[in-house]
Amino acid sequence: MAEMVRKSSVDEIVNHWILAGSCFLLMITGYAFLFHIDAISNVFGGYNSMKNVHNWGGVVFIISLLYSIRHYLIDALHYDADDVQWFKVAGGYLSHKVTVPPMGKYNPGQKLYYLAILGAGIAIALSGLAIWLLKDNAALLLISHLVHNVSFSIFVIAVPVHIYLGTFANPGTFQLMVSGTLSLESAKKRYPKWMKAAGKM
């Protein structure tokens, strides 16, 4: 069997699915609130219990999001010249003929995605907690309602892009969130700078 490289640790994988699961739950119940979708609220036993599911799901989400900092934040804050070049060729997504510069563990698109999720996630959690727990302050409630919904717009755009790129657009990537490993061969091709730093290349 070919030598395997571990890209995602077990706790990273477990946490990713807690994050993704809670995020889906919040998006679905969030849509139900936004558009008064009785078919969804009935699944949760009405709007009152759906509110509890949403609020406590939010608590799970924010804990999981804060935990993810240890996996991604340092990488997400470092960019180099190859990253700039990556944007110039749009990561090779618009044409397979361009030359994509060598990448480290994460490409800059992933790094920015992480920062967007972290930023919007903290904003949506803080505003959500305010709507939930500080509802007697009308001015705060109004601004929190706006922040909650602006961040929601970021989520509904960023998350499906992420899912597409993590599955169909990049065959083989999905297993990084299942087993967490890939063959040394592929790792050298996809993440040459990371492999060099790890002394495998």
């Binding site: 849509y31 609130f33 936004l34 558009f35 008064h36 009785d38 609220s41 009405g46 709007y47 009152n48 509110k51 090779g92 997504y93 618009l94 044409s95 397979h96 030359t99 994509v100 060598p102 709507i131 509802k135 007697d136 009308a138 001015a139 409630l141 109004l142 601004i143 309602h145 706006l146 919904n149 602006v150 929601f152 717009s153 509904v156 755009i157 499906p160 892009v161 597409y164 169909f168 657009a169 990049n170 065959p171 083989g172 592929s186 050298k188 091709k189 996809r190 040459p192």
Partner: protein, 258 residues
């Protein structure tokens, strides 16, 4: 962002000039809606309770506005939900608990309300209040009476005709014929369901000038809500097109890159 227009819209017409401040309407409302009394303290005014409350869906506002001819002049105005056509409360409510009745009133389903208190932040008139369970309360134009072709309790009890209930257009044209130059709420927020007939400036009676829904709520309703739908749909469509037109990254091609 009109929620819904009703053809035969009913309205409640308040004629403050005819009001004698007896507050029979406050009592009738409590009685019909089985609301408890509220303990209040003397605030140096006859206005009591001082503002709307979960057990006070309508109040008479007392203002002393002396004029040249009349040094002791009291103005009485019935304050309650305005049953706006563009109702900020309905727009913002995440559970759909607030709804419009066939008569055009804004009523609510107590069981659906999740007690988030967003509705009062979106109301131009600071109307909704919350009961001991945190659920919404406000004037609902006696939804259970008008639905059975009866008059609202407050109107039924009013001894002077300062409160009238009926076809909105008829009420407005009759009031105008009777010499009331200003109908407050005729056009505001696409037309209020509680309208006021004045001969003086409405501001004299403490009526709010140019009431409007908070701009953040309007922005959210007009742009953010559609964006959250079309954004998702757009990304899914773009991903499908990308997959078919350009296709996924292939290992083979990546070999060339290294």
């Amino acid at each position: 962002m009109a929620n819904e227009t009703t053809n035969n819209r009913k309205a409640l017409l308040v004629t403050p000039e005819a009001c004698i401040g007896c507050r029979a309407c406050q009592v009738a409302c409590k009685s019909w809606n089985q609301l408890p009394g509220i303990k209040t303290t003397n605030q140096g005014t006859y206005q009591n309770p001082p503002d709307l409350a979960s057990a006070a869906l309508n109040i008479i506002r007392y203002s002393e506005v002396p004029s040249q001819e009349n040094p002791v002049r009291w103005l009485f105005v019935s304050r309650r939900c305005m049953h706006c056509e563009d109702a900020g409360c309905m727009t913002v409510c995440p559970s759909g608990a607030l709804y419009r009745t066939p008569e055009g009133a804004v009523a609510y389903d107590r069981d659906k309300c999740i007690g988030c208190k967003l509705c009062v932040t979106a109301c131009p008139f600071d109307v909704p209040r919350y009961d001991a369970d945190g659920k919404v309360t406000k004037c609902h134009l006696c939804v259970d009476r008008i639905g059975a072709a009866m008059q609202p309790a407050c109107v039924k009890t009013c001894p002077t005709g300062a409160l009238k209930f009926g076809d909105r257009n008829d009420l407005i044209s009759t009031a105008k014929k009777d010499g009331f130059t200003t109908i407050y709420g005729e056009k505001d927020l696409s037309g209020l369901g509680t309208i006021y007939a004045f001969k003086d400036e409405p501001q004299l009676y403490g009526m709010k000038q140019n009431p409007s829904i908070p701009s953040s709520v309007v922005f959210w309703h007009t742009y953010l809500k559609p964006l959250s739908l079309f954004g998702l749909g757009g990304v899914v469509a773009a991903a499908a097109i990308h997959y078919l037109a350009i296709g996924p990254h292939k290992e083979k091609e990546e070999e060339k890159e290294v």
